[in-house]
């Protein structure tokens, strides 16, 4: 009797929850979800089709095959591009975590003349679109001999205004007492930052690391411009070359893209909590 009564009350509660506002919200969310997920599903679907089936728009391939994956993975270039992307994204992420944190900490916790101006100058670079910066970056790279090098791909992103801003905001929440206690205990300023302040802003570091890694993993425009050797291509640049050189092999492009998505998906699934928290804390759209 008790369980029947409980189920009846649950049903009643559920019925109360189904309000017109919720139905509209769910519908909109579902439409949004479908719009975003459909290309991803088609990407995986196409990667399982042979060249002749590519323009057959059925979601489930009539004759699914893993041949494309075998061909892509057997092609040494793809593995090289994958490693290039891993190297670039990892190095830039580590650099951002280090330098953005250090500068953010300095701006948040030290009083010095011109601090506000420095912060404004850094912030103002956020207003300039990448497309505008590409020309000075290219000229710099050209004059310093960085064209077609790993360093050339990485240097513009080694420290970012966004990361500095994010870290500064977080370091401001660390009470000064912690830092002063460490000062009284005899630590130098660098050790205070590394041993005391950094562990206290791990959510921010996680968010910064994830955004930076994903941003660099998918970066296309600058690596395309700065690299000319195929050995230095990153994954997005390399995949685009399938289109140019081999008269658009969609099944190969989609297979490569599907493989490139896997690390991103793993990062997201493993660190979903931090990404969502990071987006919320930073007040950003991913």
């Amino acid at each position: 009797m008790t369980s029947i009564a409980a189920s009846t009350s649950e049903l009643a509660a559920n019925r109360r929850d189904i309000r017109p506002g919720r139905i509209v919200a769910w519908t909109l969310l579902m439409i949004g979800g479908i719009v975003m997920v459909t290309p991803l599903i088609y990407m995986f679907s196409t990667s399982l089709k042979s060249a002749g089936q590519v323009y057959d728009l059925r979601l489930i391939p009539a004759d699914p095959t893993l041949d494309n994956y075998i061909r892509v993975l057997a092609d040494g270039r793809f593995v090289r591009w994958f490693l290039n992307s891993t190297l670039v994204a990892t190095a830039v992420t580590l650099s951002n975590v280090f330098f953005d944190s250090l500068v953010g900490y300095t701006l948040a916790k030290f009083e010095f003349r011109g601090r506000y101006l420095v912060f404004l100058a850094i912030l103002s670079t956020l207003m300039i679109p990448t497309e505008m910066l590409v020309i000075p970056w290219y000229l710099m790279s050209s004059q310093l001999g960085w064209l077609d090098t790993y360093w050339g791909i990485m240097f513009p992103g080694m420290m970012t205004a966004f990361g500095t801003f994010l870290m500064k905001q977080f370091f401001e929440t660390v009470p000064d007492d912690f830092l002063e206690a460490a000062r009284v205990d005899g630590l130098n300023e660098f050790t205070i930052w590394w041993k005391i302040a950094m562990p206290m802003v791990t959510p921010a570091i996680s968010a910064l690391a994830i955004f930076t890694f994903l941003g660099n993993w998918t970066a296309f425009f600058w690596p395309l411009i700065v690299t000319t050797s195929r050995e230095l291509y990153t994954l997005p640049v390399g995949l685009s070359s399938f289109a140019v050189e081999q008269s658009i092999q969609w099944e190969m492009i989609m297979t490569g893209a599907a493989l490139a998505t896997i690390p991103t998906l793993i990062v997201f699934l493993a660190l979903q909590r931090y990404i969502v928290r990071g987006v919320m804390l930073a007040g950003l759209k991913g």
Binding site: P175, D177, E180, A181, A182, V184, D185, L187, K195, M200
Partner: protein
Amino acid sequence: MARIELQGLTKRYGRLTAVQAIDLAIDDGEFVVFVGPSGCGKSTTLRMIAGLEDISDGTLRIGGEVVNQREPKQRNIAMVFQNYAIYPHMTVAQNIGFGLYTARLSRQEKQKRIEEAARILGLEDLLDRRPAALSGGQRQRVAIGRAMVRNPVAFLFDEPLSNLDAQLRSAMRIEIKRLHQRLGTTVVYVTHDQVEAMTMADRIVVMRDGRILQVGTPVELYENPVDVFTARFIGSPAMNLMPGAVEEGVLAVAGARLPETNAASFGDGGVLVGVRPHDLVVGAESDGGLSISGVVTAVEPLGAETLVHLAAGGVEVVATAPGRLVPAVDSTVTASAARGALYLFDAGSERALGRL
């Protein structure tokens, strides 16, 4: 252990002078409490001693050496902060041991000191815990432990009990006092709570507007305050202050007259008469002192005694009723203070004129 000397110590922030040329000598092993309202400069003074604030002017000596230009770590002092400042990402043992981070000691020696501090503070069973799993009092003990392991020449406490509830605060007061008795290290303690100052200090330094108003033992400050501010700040409930008027050569206060006073000795600015609530007792004999009749406006029974708020002669005063006597509100009662329990202050300068 060390003697700490402040000579003309001054702190300026732009045009604002937060601490104005204060002079003070704190003896080796002494427990000195700086007390005063918010913004009086007590914490700034402590931070100058710690080396966390630059000294704008004056000289600071620790152990006979001028340390104005020395970094905090070179002064060999330890500080306990209001919010404990124990690191959330470290265990209790790591937090206590962090005080030894730069010490050139063997691992065994460090471990020995951590265990010794934990034993003294009753933290042996909590060494593997993180601060989030500790109570407020335990966190405070960890902060004290971190200060202790370094064997500093002086402990500086910056309102260390402010974040604790009343019961725990009372227990920690005793713990800190016992610890001082045991270690014998110089302690400089800052608080805005006069009860902490009274119960813990060898000497109290009362500060206001960046200046030292009075330095003395708790009893000296209680018995002989130099001015109205100190008189009201020290002692709880605060001292009653009533304007006195000279009528026909006799001092009149709150509707009562004090015939045996030499009113001619008072300045032109008038006089304020002070009496502590515990000296103004409902139903007591006046014994030639002050006797006030007034209407009871409120009562605060505390068990052993009752605080009685009276409206007498146009002023509001607080008296005490002994035992379980709780006068009815709106009733008229008489409260008396013995001779010698009255304090006189100049109404203009607010400086003390003596006792009556």
